[in-house]
């Protein structure tokens, strides 16, 4: 990775997000709550594409898309059409998907826009509204299965497609873009990224000296960085060996963590896009956009600025907290319970976030609540536990969900304030480490080792400041020949 200059990498993303706040599908009144339901229980003649049925656009989907376009600084078209994208594949019972098109007189929902990542602007090319296909499964393996089994509960669920310009320069920046996009959509309340399959992504990537390669089937945002890293390594090794990277479509194999060439014979013209005759044009007035605008909730960037002002946070910390809506919500709930906002921010960013990343979980899946954290911070304030002990209490909260007071009681973690005990322990350490003591008498730095032994012996339950003073006094007594 380090040998590749970021200027040589161009990444563009095509993101599909389900509008999960909708009760019904995009063009019919079937319930959109399909997760965990028996196959084909959320279908009707419209989403099954039966002859003589008419799709009708969900007005809430239009409002959602309008909010998304406004949040992405994208220009909403004053008039939009739906197009049929024709293909023969059983994931769509109609043999076409109702989508939008930017050619042949078609106008996507919105054009242009950007998302700000630090100092960079990642430009948006367009957004459009379309329907999700059904879900395919196979008996046994895909190769040996005699047939395709289809569940159409997902067919017709509303999606918003967001396409970026190839402005992204690294897999990490792609991840940051997607995190920010997710935060925006969750602040708007239109899409919940914690739901499986609610946010998916295709990526295209080209390295200097090679052609554009498209990676399909990246089923979650978390996989994108990994898929792109793999693809960069693969393409780079081709370029280094003088092999030309041809234009192709590849598929991300999540299990093997590699991209695989996908033989696709359908070219764009094969989809035979044409205006959907069953849906009438939709006009979007400035007045309508204005009405939606006033209803818009606070967006991550505004929330970040508010955090800096209201809670006295650094720009960097405010940015990290608002990158994830759950995290920002968690923070604000803590602030309600405990006034030192900087302390809360430090614990969330320093302890909670690394845990979430490491375990690859959603914040809402965690056992820790704002009350856990703020109770614990109070125990630090009143001297019951040290900061060091609090770290192990916090880890215990994360793994068990027990309240801090019971963890402190169970583990006997109470700080020991008894000075006589500290003196005894110092004596014990000095006696057990004669060589280190010798070193410490001549070298000030060697005292750190003795302190380490002392904290280990007392399981960190004593005050390091008090202990340090006692240790130093005893050592200086020894130099003076007092034993």
């Amino acid at each position: 990775m380090s040998r590749i200059k970021s200027a040589e990498i161009k990444i563009g993303l095509e993101v599909h997000c389900q509008l999960t706040n909708l009760m019904t599908k995009l063009f019919c009144s079937c319930s959109s709550d399909y997760r965990g339901k028996d196959p084909n229980t959320h279908i009707c003649p419209i989403c099954m594409g039966m002859p003589g049925t008419l799709p009708v656009l969900n007005e809430k989907a239009l409002e959602d898309a309008t909010m998304v376009a406004i949040a992405l600084n994208s220009n909403i078209s004053d008039r939009m059409l739906f197009f049929r994208k024709n293909y023969f594949y059983p994931d769509m019972p109609k043999n076409f998907q109702i989508s939008q098109y930017d050619k042949a007189g078609g106008v996507p929902f919105s054009l242009g826009g950007y998302i700000q990542i630090d100092k960079e602007k990642i430009r948006i090319r367009r957004t459009q509204i379309e329907e999700d296909p059904g879900k395919l499964s196979y008996e046994g393996t895909i190769e040996s299965s005699p047939s395709t089994l289809v569940d159409y509960n997902r067919a017709g669920i509303a999606l918003i497609e967001i396409v970026t310009e190839p402005d992204i320069r690294s897999p990490k920046e792609a991840r940051l873009f997607l995190e920010k996009l997710r935060s925006i959509l969750e602040h708007l309340g239109v899409s919940d990224g914690s739901l499986e399959g609610a946010m998916r992504c295709d990526a295209n990537i080209s390295l200097k000296g090679g052609r554009r390669v498209e990676i399909k089937n990246i089923s979650s945002f978390k996989e994108v960085e990994r898929a792109l890293n793999f693809e960069i390594t693969r393409q780079k090794s081709f370029i280094e060996r003088g092999i030309i990277v041809g234009q192709e479509t590849r598929h991300w194999d999540e299990v093997r963590r590699i991209t695989v060439s996908l033989r696709s014979k359908e070219e764009e013209q094969d989809y035979r896009y044409f205006p959907e005759p069953d849906l009438v044009p939709v006009t979007i007035s400035k007045d309508y956009i204005q009405k939606v605008k006033v209803k818009m909730p606070e967006l991550p960037d505004d929330r970040m600025r508010r955090f800096i002002e209201q809670y006295d946070l650094t720009l960097q910390n405010a940015e990290i907290l608002t990158r994830n809506k759950e995290m920002a919500d968690f923070f604000e709930e803590c602030v309600e319970l405990y006034k030192n906002s900087r302390e809360i921010s430090n614990w969330l960013i320093g302890e909670l976030l690394p845990y979430v990343r490491d375990k690859n979980v959603e914040i809402e899946e965690l056992k820790v609540t704002p009350k856990h954290l703020t109770d614990m911070l109070r125990f630090i304030d009143d001297g019951t536990i040290s900061r060091k002990m609090a770290q192990s209490v916090f880890r215990e909260i994360l793994s068990t969900g027990k309240m801090p007071d019971s963890i402190i009681k169970e583990k006997g973690l109470k700080k020991i304030l008894d000075k006589q005990y500290v003196v005894e322990m110092v004596e014990k350490v000095l006696k057990e480490n004669p060589r280190a003591v010798e070193d410490a008498l001549t070298d000030e730095k060697a005292i750190n080792y003795l302190m380490g032994q002392l904290m280990k012996l007392t399981k960190g339950r004593i005050d390091p400041k008090v202990a340090g003073e006692i240790m130093r006094r005893r050592l200086s007594d020894l130099t003076k020949g007092i034993s």
């Binding site: 039966m50 059983p90 005699p146 009438v280």
Partner: protein, 101 residues
């Protein structure tokens, strides 16, 4: 594609027929390929006549109805079990379809 064909005043090639058949996932015999090449070419050349009409100042129309903005409320109506019952081939609760290659 129509524009292009009309312009070159030529029929569809066998290769194009085979490709169209593949897009529709249907198999054609050699005889059928020949037959459809002729029939579809006739249909397409017919479009050439429409193309002769002067449409210089006519704005393109994308919809035949004068209606706009037909929307519905986001309210659930019960799904119809009968929809599933009309499916010709099923396996358990799944719809059975050919395996795609």
């Amino acid at each position: 594609m129509v524009d292009e064909l009309v312009k070159r005043k030529k029929g569809l090639s066998k290769k194009e027929i085979e490709h169209i058949a593949w897009l529709a996932r249907i198999e054609l015999s050699k005889k059928e390929v020949n037959l459809f090449a002729h029939q579809l070419s006739d249909i397409l050349t017919y479009f050439a006549k429409i193309d002769e009409a002067d449409t210089e100042d006519v704005p393109p129309s994308y919809h035949v109805l004068d209606l706009i903005n037909v929307l519905r409320k986001d309210e659930i109506k019960p799904s119809l079990e009968v929809t599933f019952q009309t499916v010709p081939q099923t396996k358990g609760r799944f719809v059975k379809a050919p395996r795609m290659t």
